[in-house]
Structure formats: C-alpha cells, structure tokens
Amino acid sequence: MHNVKRTPQSKEAIEARKQKEQSKIREYLALTDDILNRKKSKDYSRESLNKTTQILQINPEFYTVWNYRRMILLNGIFPGCSASEINEQLSEDLSLTTTALKAHPKVYWIWNHRRWCLENVPTGPGDAGAPDHLGWRQDYWKKEMFVVEKMLDVDARNFLAWSYRRYVLSSMPIPRNPKTELTYTKRKIETNFSNFSAWHQRSKVLTSLWAKGELDERQSKEAEFDLIKNAMFTVPEDQSAWIYHRWLVGPGHDRDILEREIDTIKLLLEEQPDSKWCMESLVHYNMLLIRNHVSSVNTAELVQECRKLLGELRKVDSARRERYNELGILAPCLLSSLKATDPVQRKDLAQKRDTLADSAVSQGLTEREGRLLLFSDYYYPWERRAITVACSYRTGRKLGAFSTCIRQSCSRNCKQNSIAASVAAAAVLRNRNLGGLETREQVVRDSEHKTMEKGCAQ
C-alpha cells in the first residue's frame, strides 16, 4: 500500500510474526513429506486425496501433487465409484481448479488438470442412445467457455487462457461458428490492441477460415490490412501490430501488396522518423521484394535503401546494432546469390543449388556470412544446403560449427531435411580433406539419398 505510514513494530511483534511464519513453514513441510511418502508407497486412499487438496490449496504450483492426485483418482477412487459419483468428484476437482486459477491464473498445472477432468467426464446421465447420454459432458463444456472468457476479462493477455480457449473451441461437442471468434478477438483488440495473443488467435482463425473457403482470403485480408494499419499508425512502437502485419504480408509473393504496404510504412516513417519497427519492417519488405521479384525490381536501389535504414536503426536502437550489421551483410548476399541462380531457368533444383554453391564459393563467403544466410528466412531449404556446402568448402576447418548450424536451421523446415542435412554435414566433416566441390556434393547427395531411404523405410 502506498501513502500508509509504516507503524514501527516492536521486537516482540516481529518475533511473534517470525514464529508464526516458522510454524506455517513447518506445517507445510510436514504435509509435503507426508504426501510424497504416500505417493512413494502408492497410497491411493481418499485420505491421501484430501491431503492433496489441502496442499494444492496452499501451493497449486506443486505439479507432482497434481500428478499424484490424478493417480489417486484413477487407481483409488474411480474404480469403486458409479458414473455419477465420478462425475461429482470431477466437478469437485473442477471447482478446485477454478478457485486456484483465480489466485494463480498463469500456472500450467492447474489448466492442465482442468483439461484432464473434462476429458474424463463419464458418459451419462442417460444410457447410450438416450438423448441425455452426453448430458454431463455438454453441461461442462457450456460452462467452460464462460470460465475462459471470465479469465480473459480479468487479463486479456493471459496466453495460457488463450491457448486453453483454443482447446475448448476445438473440443466443444457442438462446435461454435468460427466467425464468432473473429468478433471476439476484434473486441479484445479494440479494448487494447497491444495483445499478441489476441492477434495470434485472429491469425489462426483466419487461416483456418481461408483454408476451408468460408471466407474470401483476398477480401478479408484487405480488411485486416486496414485494421492493422490503424494500430501501426496509432502506436508505431507496439510490436504486436507489426508482427501481425508481417504475418499478413507473408512470404511476399504479391508484388502489388508488398509495394503498397511499403509505401504506407514510408508515410508513417515520415511522421515518425525514429520509429524502429517502421524501419525494420521496411528492410524486411525490401528484402522480400528482392527475394521474390529480383528480375523486375530495382535491386540496387533497394539494397541501398536497406543499408541506409539499417544505418539509422543502429543509431536509434544501438543495443541491437550487431543484428542490424548482420542484416546489412545479408542484403547484398541475398541479391548476389539470387542473381547467380535466377538465370537458371530450368526447374532443376540440383542445378540451381550447384550454381548457388558455386557463386557462394567464388564470392568467398565467410563463415559468418554463411551462417547468416542459413538462418535468414529469405532462403529455401535447398538454397541453404547449397550455401552450407559452399561455406564448408571455404572454411575447411570450422566445419563443426556448421554442422550444428545446419541441423538447427533445417529442423525449422521439416524433419527429413534436418536428418539429411545433418548427415550431409557429418559427411562433409569426415571428408574434410577431399579436394573438389563435386566430390563433396556427391557425398552429400549420397548420404541424403540414404537418409531419405531410411526415412521412407521407417
């Protein structure tokens, strides 16, 4: 409390307080010991259940006890119970979690226990075939949406509640119209748009609606662009808006949209010349232009602009100047690698890859550059591999670092790529002293092939 005078406490009072705390701690520790011992001895009695209730009310973060509680329920309580008794017990557990969530809204184990309870609600009260066969379950699910909305009313940015919301939405016996979710997220966003979870939820819902064809992607995307621009212009320093914008733009295949958005951001930058997210986004969208439309845009100018923006970024956000330095290296690398591969018209990936590797080798990529290229989002997996090979060729002795790199970067894409690449790297590593690139590539290809076979066999 502020503005309240601290009343000086006597030594005795402090001592008494300490004593009280001590006795509380002793009690808690004794209870903990007791419960852990019971768990060890597989005591699944009701008495133990009550003990877990007791301790979870004090400390709901004690996940071992939640686990133990479920074991008691499954092994000790439920076997001797009728369906309606089980139902009652679960309803008790649900209200236990409700109380706990009110005080601890961000404890995973409570949310987790809640899910478990819901999933274990028995069928009933009616028998199979009766209209109320699923009555109990439906009752809970109806309430569940209410619970999660209450939680989000208290804290609209509770990501646990949001992810639980998605769980509830996907598990409800009678699914809701997904469009209501758009309305809900919009309402939350309008109350405070600095809400990564709400934007994320929105992106998920839109993606699924587009995929199902329930919403016209082009048209609704335009509406989203309109919405997000309002957020960007209102508070340009709010990262959540920029991330959503980036998601909307996506890989940037549509040149018109890209250029239009770049123009809008430039307009904002004019108003707010020190906006970090403005500049960073401009760099990113320029790179996407280069990446996707290399033959039809003025690449030199774009690279030049990126350099300028990055220079500015180093000033306004000096804590991340190294990152901006690296992005500055990336832009020309990207351009030259694209220029090298673009004339290869054939859809022969292997040839493209070789060309890219050749050009990377001939440019004399440093390890750092190579690593940057690997981690940037502007490359496809096959390009990454080519770069890897080129880099390993150049840098010979530092391959260890690269193999890790490859493993990490490729695991982003798909499992098989990742296996292939790590085998490739290992192969490259083994053949360190081999001479020509072709030989290396051969090794890599062979090992890739083997891995794929292995993958298929599995």
Partner: protein, 616 residues
C-alpha cells in the same frame, strides 16, 4: 463545558467550507458550522426539483444568479431529481478525490464514470471525442497520418513536457495555434483537443495551463475505468459537500442549518473574563449565542464592520510555489456564466447524427463478422431472428459531456466561448428512471453581461442537443429523428465572483493594513471564491482552497490560543508592561510554529486502520 463555545465557526456549507470544516473537526478542533439555507452545499448545492424552482424564485439572488426564464413548473417525482447548482465532473486523480479518500467521505456516497464524450463539429455532426489510444485506433473519421499526430501529441501531453523543446517559448501562445503549428494537427483535431479534451473555454486560452489540465485528465484515465472523470450520485458537488459535513459531525462538529445570522460581535479586549473567545455570533431564531476564536466564511457573509479582522486565504493563482494547480482560466475577459437546465424524457446519443454519418453504423457495415457480435455464443445455432443486426441502437448517454467549440453553430451566439452540455441520467441517482437532465453553460464576456439574455444565448445549443434524442422506438428508424420537447427548462445568468487574482492582491493590502492597525493576527478567514472554471476544475479547486483554509486556520487558532494563554498568564502574574507583552507574544509565536508542526502533520489524519490481519 460551554456548548456554544467553538474553536472555529464556519459559515456556509459550500464545498470549500465543508471540506475545511471536516478537516478541522477531524484534526481535533471544535467546529460549529452554520448555513442560512435549510440544505447543505451553498452555491454548489443539489436541490430537489421543487426546491430548485423555489430557489430560482427567491434564493438565487444571494448566489449572484439572475435573469431567470423558466418553462414548466415542477414535475412529478420532484424529489427524485437532484439539480446541481454547480454541475461538474471530477478527475479521478486530484485534490478532491484525494480528500474524499483520505477523509473516508468517499464511503458516504456513490460515483459513476462519465463515459461518453462528444464534440459538435463544424459540419453540424457530433463526433465521439477520442481520448485514448483505443478510441483513436477505432475511430473511422481520422486519417492514418492524423492518428499518428494526435497520438504523438497525447503522449507529449501526458509526459513531463515542461522542459521539452516543443513547449519552449510557447507557454503563453494560444493553445489552438500551438497545436496546429507545433504538432501539425488539423483544425478539427486541434479544436477537439482544445475544447473537448483540455476543456478550454475560449480560443484565447494559453498553452501551458491547458496542457497541464490535459495531462492530469490523461493520467486520471484508468484509475476507476477508461474514462478520466467521475460524477457523484445525487448531484455530485452538493452531495459531496454534505458528506464532508457528515464527516465533520462524526468527529464532533455541530451543525445549525436554516438559521440566518443576526450579528457577529468581536469580543472587546478584556482582561476580566478568563478565556474570552474572539467572537460572539447571534442567530435569528436561536436562543443561545455562539462564541468562537476564528470564523471562516466566504466574502458574502462578512459584516462590513469586521473587515479589519479578515484575511483572504490565497487562491491558487497566487504565486505560491506549491500551487501545482494551474486550472484557473487566465483570461479574465468574462465574469458571468449563462446556464440552462433542461429535463427530458428521451435518451440522447452521441453517435447518431443528423446526416447519418455515424460511427457505429459504418463500423458494423463493413465486415460481416460483427453481425455475430450480439449473439450469445451458446445459442448461435438457434438465434438468427434479428434480420438486420446493424441496427443495434447506440448506447444512450447517461453520464456524458458534449462540447460545442466557439462558433460551431451557425445560429449560435457563443462565438468567443465554448458551450458545455453535461448530461446525467438515473444511473447518477439524480433523476427518476427514463429522465435526463441537461446542464448547459457558457461564459459571457464582460461587454455582453449587461445585455445578455441567457435564453437567447443558450437556446440554439439546447435545440442542437435535443436533436440528438434517439428516435422513438415506435417510429420506424428510417424517420429523421425529431427534436424533442423538454419537460422543464430554466435559463439563468450566474455572475462570477471577483476574479481570483484581484482578490489575492486585495488580501495582501488588507494584511498590511491590519498589521499596521492592530497587533493581533486576523481571525476572520475568508475562503477564496471559485472563479469561472472549466467543468472538471471546480471541485478540485474547492479542495485545494479548503486545504489552504485549513492550514491558515490551524496557524491562526494556535496563535490565538497561545496569545490568550499568555494574556491570561499576564493578567495574573505580571501587570503588563507593553514591552514584556510583545516579547512573550514573540516567544509563544515561535513555540506555536513548532507545536503546529508537531501536532498536526497532515491535512487529513490517518484513517482508523483495520487491525492488521493475520493472513491465516
């Protein structure tokens, strides 16, 4: 002990006097509080409708009100109306709220957020006032670039701008010019910021005070809700004044209402009676006289023969360093307020406007997702009966402020000043169900005061406000909303007291003459009267003034006690040489100072704390 003997007698139960009385009473002084009216609140009272009608007939002149024109007599359920004589809204942070909390008076009353703000713009439509980033984000009338500029300005205004380059040299620039020039804001937004967010009254208002007001309002948002302002139940100021009186009574204050004073007589300097009080006050229909050491009242109650005993307590415009409140309007070009009180039986809405360009409908029209908004999610499969969910009626205004910037009505006479409409409904407990009070007010420039007719001035604004009435539900919504007829209207003119700066200069001259003529310190304290202020400022101004009055009274009381004691001592032990007396007084003076410091440390003593709970 003598029941009629008080340390302090406070005359008048206006907000300033009531807060001061409560603070003095809580600090342990014996307080008597008088009011000639049978109700609390003085010029800030909340009156039932029949009381208000009566007041307008006979009581108003003493409050400086005149030129009444009324249509309609009192209405049924008259006692369910609380008409405020000083309609105002309370910022959620500031001296009044602090006093309400620190004194515990907040527990006596209820409050609600003032949640709708509109501005009448030049094109004759009402727009919602965008006061925070969410409003700006949602607003469809402001272009993207203007959103950025507006937000940048609001960030500037909510921060510590005193040393910022943007402000340098612009402190006394007219505010609107400053907004347009330094922040490149367009006319409409500059006008919105100036009149509807910073509550400027005139285009001549200068930048620094307006910015300081705005900063406090911006920082008030979020304390009790997204809106920065509260309104008290039952007519706000009057009810709050009564709450403070109750707090004073709880700690031993004595209240006598409905009694006018027949005489105030200073006690003759006498050595014969032990402990003589400084004043004897007689009331018309009250047998026993009251005695007291000091009197606190506003200027209007001071008998002319006591002028030499008075001291004006400084107002916030005086150059005291601690005065952070710069709410007082600097321009002194106006001395009266034209007021209108109208009662209506149809709700108003800010978003629907004549030309149909209303925010809400355009918002719902553009994406079909909003069609789902009103549906209960659990019933979304079954309810699809509403054929056109777009026609969701906008929320009626139940506690809202509508601002008319100067010259916004083609037929409006208020070309130099803004007009404020404050609308309250039954959720503020000041009207019966389905009834609303509209308070309109605007300053009148000095030159016009003599000729001004409040009805002529305010009628066009009342009509414009009434056009916001939601269409009758029985009419098809496509009908143009018809203007409604109010059930009751009263227009009047309230003259503002002397402007504060001249009052404080007169106080200093007063003080110097007093020290010249009499050796004693003045024991009749005059509370500063409230100058004409923007609608959110007067309650805080009253609280600030009350605190000054409190400290002045504490100092004076200590002084007067000590001098009485010393006089008493002197009369017994040393048959007085003048020089000795002066010395004693000087000594006790310094003692008094330190004693005051030690005994009374704060405006409000700490509230009784609940026993520290064991968290078991």
């Amino acid at each position: 002990m003598d029941e009629g003997a008080f340390d302090v007698v406070v005359i008048g139960t206006g907000l300033t006097e009531s807060i001061a009385a409560a603070a003095l009473s809580k600090a342990g002084f014996k307080v008597g509080h008088l009011d000639q009216n049978p109700y609390y609140g003085g010029d800030e009272a909340s009156l039932f409708l029949d009381e208000f009608v009566q007041w307008s007939k006979d009581g108003a002149q003493s409050s400086g009100c005149s030129s009444f024109s009324r249509s309609g007599e009192t209405l049924p359920q008259s006692r369910q109306y609380s008409i405020s004589l000083s309609p105002s809204i309370i910022p959620s942070t500031g001296p009044l709220i602090s006093s309400l909390i620190a004194s515990g008076v907040s527990r006596y009353g209820g409050f609600r957020l003032v949640d709708q703000f509109g501005i009448y713009n030049s094109s004759g439509t009402v727009r919602r006032v965008p006061g925070n980033k969410e409003d700006i984000f949602k607003n469809k009338n402001i272009s993207l670039v203007d959103k950025r500029r507006l937000m940048r300005f609001l960030m500037f205004a909510s921060g510590d701008f005193e040393d910022k380059n943007e402000l340098k040299g612009n402190e006394t620039t007219p505010y609107v010019d400053f907004l347009k020039r330094v922040f490149s804001l367009n006319d409409e937004i500059a006008s919105t910021i100036s009149y509807a967010l910073s509550y400027c009254l005139s285009p001549a208002d200068t930048t620094l005070p307006a910015l300081q007001r705005l900063r406090r309002y911006l920082r008030s948002a979020g304390r009790y809700g997204s809106s920065p302002f509260l309104v008290g139940h039952y007519g706000s100021s009057g009810e709050i004044a009564q709450g403070f009186c109750r707090a004073a009574a709880v700690s031993g204050g004595v209240y006598i209402l409905g009694q006018s004073i027949s005489s105030i007589i200073p006690s003759p300097p006498s050595d014969t009676t032990p402990n003589p009080r400084n004043y004897t006050i007689r009331l018309k229909d009250f047998p026993d006289p009251l005695t007291c050491d000091i009197i606190i009242s506003s200027q209007q109650y001071v008998p002319s023969e006591l002028a030499s005993h008075t001291k004006h307590v400084g107002t916030s415009v005086s150059s005291e360093a601690e005065s952070v409140e710069t709410t007082t309007v600097t321009s002194t070009n106006y001395t009266s307020i034209a007021r209108c009180i109208a009662i209506i039986d149809r709700p108003l809405t800010f978003s629907a406007s004549q030309d149909g360009q209303d925010d809400d409908s355009s918002e719902t029209a553009d994406d079909d997702e909003d069609a789902e908004l009103d549906k209960d999610p659990t019933e979304s499969q079954t309810t699809n009966s509403n054929p056109n969910p777009k026609l969701k009626p906008p929320t009626p205004v139940d506690a809202g402020v509508l601002v008319f910037p100067p010259s916004c009505l083609p037929n409006g006479l208020a070309t130099e000043f803004s007009v404020t409409a404050f609308i309250v409904g039954d959720s503020t407990m000041s009207t019966p169900k389905e009834k609303w009070i509209i308070y309109l007010s605007t300053p009148i420039s000095k030159d016009d005061t003599s000729s001004a007719d409040p009805e002529t001035i305010l009628r066009p604004y009342l009509d414009a406000t009434l056009r916001l009435a939601s269409p009758d539900s029985s009419n098809p919504p496509s009908d143009a909303p018809k203007s409604i007829k109010p059930l009751f209207t009263t227009f009047y003119l309230q003259s503002c007291p002397l402007d504060a700066s001249s009052a404080s200069t007169s106080s200093s001259t007063n003080a110097s003459t007093q020290t010249a003529t009499s050796a004693s310190t003045p024991t009749y304290l005059i509370t500063p009267s409230l100058p004409l202020l923007p609608i959110p400022s007067s309650p805080d101004e009253a609280a600030t003034n009350a605190e000054r009055v409190f400290w002045e009274a504490v100092r004076t009381l200590k002084g007067s006690r000590m001098s009485r004691q010393s006089r008493h001592r002197r009369s017994r032990s040393m048959p007085g040489g003048v020089e000795v007396e002066v010395e004693t007084e000087a000594d006790t003076e310094t003692e008094t100072e330190t004693e005051t410091e030690r005994e009374i440390e704060s405006f409000w003593p700490p509230l009784e704390q609940p026993e520290e709970e064991d968290d078991s």
